[in-house]
């Protein structure tokens, strides 16, 4: 009897599950979001393929020469290449990493662990978030004022010594300007990494008699390191791709007499150029000399490769650290 009761329940329960209508709206929605994905990927793919195809004439025949060559007035030139741009972009990356990283991490740790939760702290946080959204041209202007020109603030605080130190229109000025540009991003990502440290680790350290600074060095920094590192690397790749601030700081597109080796630090306080600037210049030259279109495409491929390398390093580092953390 019990059995038959269960039987009827099951029977009744199993009816009514058949599909009564086709879900039109659902299907349409799926089609729309899928096409959004396809369109964005397609645009990227076309762009990439077109660039590589254009770049092929340079990269297939004289890739090494192209990487080692310098700015030239004609595109058919055995010595045409991007090394001066690589030099600029490389050192910009170095200055960004070596200044924005320590300052950004320091500021983030202060804000997260030391600053009292006050209105002022909240305001500072808001300002930093907004600074991350300020257009890069504005930072270029700041760099011009701070590091390039012999300016004075409020008419009496002279900044001539800064311009003297950087050599004015130099890689050093450009690197420092871009460091200021990415500083808010580094601070924000580092803050997030610091915030992600489990409170159990902090309490554990405090409970064993660690001081605040010991806790920061032994718990927060090791735990937050992967997040901080990836944030910094992504910020670096952003800095390397910027062109607008460099134009203001005075990157030049011709008349560079030297073509120094990458690690030759003697060119840091001299006139400079960078990869994005070279790309802009060659694209604008292609009306006069069509060969520059291909050179520009090749320079884009080099820049993309550089940025991709940085991003991949960031991802690899994060994965490795995360595995280690268990």
């Amino acid at each position: 009897m019990t059995f038959s009761t269960i039987g009827t329940v099951a029977k009744r329960g199993a009816t009514g599950f058949e599909r009564k209508r086709t879900d039109l709206a659902g299907g349409l929605f799926k089609a729309v979001i899928l096409s959004a994905l396809v369109v964005s990927l397609l645009v990227l793919a076309v762009l990439l393929i077109d660039t590589v195809v254009d770049a092929w004439s340079q990269l297939s025949t004289r890739a090494w020469d192209f990487l080692n060559g310098s700015l030239r007035s004609r595109s058919i030139d055995d010595k045409l290449g991007v090394k001066q741009g690589l030099y600029g972009s490389f050192w910009i990356g170095v200055f960004v990493a070596s200044t924005a990283f320590p300052i950004g991490v320091g500021a983030a740790i202060y804000l997260e662990e030391y600053a009292a939760k006050s209105r002022l702290a909240a305001l500072i946080e808001l300002v930093i978030r907004n600074l991350a959204g300020v257009p890069s041209v504005v930072y270029g202007l700041l760099g011009l004022f701070l590091f390039v020109e012999r300016s004075t603030i409020f008419g009496f605080v002279g900044l001539g010594w800064l311009a003297d130190a950087t050599g004015g229109r130099s890689v050093l000025s450009a690197g420092l300007t871009l460091a200021v540009l990415v500083l808010p991003i580094v601070i924000i990502t580092a803050q997030e990494a610091v915030r992600s440290v489990p409170s159990g680790l902090k309490e554990g350290a405090y409970g064993l008699g660690a001081t605040k600074s010991e806790m920061v060095w032994t718990q927060i920094l090791p735990y937050a390191a992967p997040g901080i590192l990836t944030g910094t690397l992504l910020a670096m790749s952003r800095a390397i791709g910027e062109a607008a601030p460099l134009i203001l700081v005075g990157a030049i597109t011709g008349g560079l007499t030297r073509n120094p080796e990458l690690w030759d630090a003697s060119g840091l306080r001299e006139k400079f150029t960078a990869l994005p600037i070279i790309i802009v210049e060659w694209v604008s030259e292609r009306g006069r000399d069509p060969g520059f279109a291909e050179a520009a495409a090749a320079a884009i491929v080099v820049l993309l490769a550089l940025v991709l390398l940085l991003n991949m390093t960031a991802i690899l580092l994060r994965n490795r650290f995360e595995r280690k953390r268990g």
């Binding site: 159990g200 680790l201 554990g204 405090y206 409970g207 008699g209 032994t218 718990q219 090791p222 268990g326």
Partner: protein, 288 residues
Amino acid sequence: MAAIDDLTEGRGSEPLGEMAAESPAMPEVVFDVEELSVYYGEFQAIQDASLKVHENEITAFIGPSGCGKTTLLRCFNRMNDLIETARVTGSLRYHGVDLYDSKVDAVEVRRRIGMVFQKPNPFPKSIRANVAYGPRVAGLAKKGPVMDDIVENSLRKAALWDEVKDRLDDNALGLSGGQQQRLCIARAIATDPDVLLMDEPCSALDPIATTRIEELMHGLKDDYSIVVVTHNMQQAARVSDRTAFFSVDVNPDSDNRTGILVEYDSTQQIFSNPSDERTENYVTGRFG
């Protein structure tokens, strides 16, 4: 207010004022808490708690959620200092020294008074580095044979040595939950503290791991005074010498919930013959 008299078993209650530490049968007082209240901003977490914790005993804090037992425990090593809005009034003396005196360094307090947390929280480092952490920040030892001795002794005391002696350099996160908690106990005793504070040390563990920790606590009692917060009444009955029962006082006007110490007595007394009705209701499972 309930009886918070300090009792020696079988002797019955004595008036508060006369129960000085001189009484020969009484173990020495480690913590002397008087009228302690803790506030988080406007919110009062616990009101006017008074009790004495004795040397080489296990004192259990029991009570429902939100009764302030963990808050009180966290006063004992000044962990509440880490919460910006926390404020403590009343007096809390440790071997006669006022822990909340302005001259007292909270970091130094935490080196002497170890703490084990609710959720095992080993550092994501090697087993050895976990145990060595406290002695290292305290400057007791750096590396070498001295530190090796500290590590071995601490792990032995925490009944973990035999299980990990061959893999001291493995990551501590590879241990089971119960092993991790024993590692946290080893880590806490490595700084050679005088007191161990345990905040629901078994709540994240299975029954077998819980039993091991309880056995361990019995063994540790000879060397340390232990204060344990627990949700588990049976655990309090099994391991502790004295039990403090806390409850929540709801203010009918403001609906504010404040923790209060209802009764503090020998564990036997609390569980067999409590003097307060609320305690009886709680320990017999008729709470609320």
